[in-house]
Amino acid sequence: MIELSTEAWAVMAEHAQNCYPNECCGILIGSEVEGKRLATLAVACRNAYQGEQKDRFELDPRDQIAAERKSRELSLGVLGFFHSHPDEGAYFSQTDLKNHWPFYSNVVMSVRALVVSDAKCFRVDVDQTASEEEELIWPKS
């Protein structure tokens, strides 16, 4: 399971609203103790996808390098990623499945009419052939 701090969630929700009607993306930083993950920080990133961004996103590796550096400075780790689905549900699509790594917690936010209405978290199996919902605790849950 993964819990999002109030501060992390505030960054995620604001980023999703600022990017609407395009997809936003970002990185979750925190720690894991006995299988429970706590994301204390969320880093809003650029959507580097070259094309229509209302239904696609791509993380900019330079943002990932900066986030990795920051997490190490804080003795934390990159736990996963987040992105938004404007005017769609919080589900993990086939495109998401094929383009995410195992281990990471991947939070998907549903944004409808500028309101973040739902959020779910998913993990990908080692073969990237299936995803499983991970328990998510967020301020609205």
């Binding site: 590796p61 990795e68 990159v78 689905h85 699509s93 998401d96």
Partner: protein, 91 residues
């Protein structure tokens, strides 16, 4: 020696280490040293043909090796090599 930064999913193959120091004149030599000492990491970085997987990005300091000399990119002592998961998605 150069530093290789290991992303969290791959640390299970390096005994939990988040950084590995290795010797080599190029990115290819460094990654070869890494996979020799930590063989289980190899299938996560390279395909069956021995080529870097498309969803693995390698940076030397802040530069993407795809825009340098790929695996022949030279590495100097003190350089930092980052293994960056390619993350994307959409509906």
């Amino acid at each position: 020696m150069a530093k290789i930064l290991i992303p969290t999913p791959l640390r299970q193959f390096t005994g939990g280490a988040d950084t590995i120091e290795a010797s080599g004149a190029t990115v290819g030599e460094l990654l070869a040293a890494l996979t020799t000492n930590h063989p289980d990491i190899k299938k996560n970085l390279f395909n069956d043909e021995g080529k870097l997987r498309s969803f693995v990005n390698i940076y030397v300091n802040d530069e993407d090796i795809r825009y340098l000399s790929k695996e022949a990119t030279e590495v100097a002592a003190g350089d930092t090599v980052s293994i960056i998961p390619s993350i994307a998605g959409g509906r």
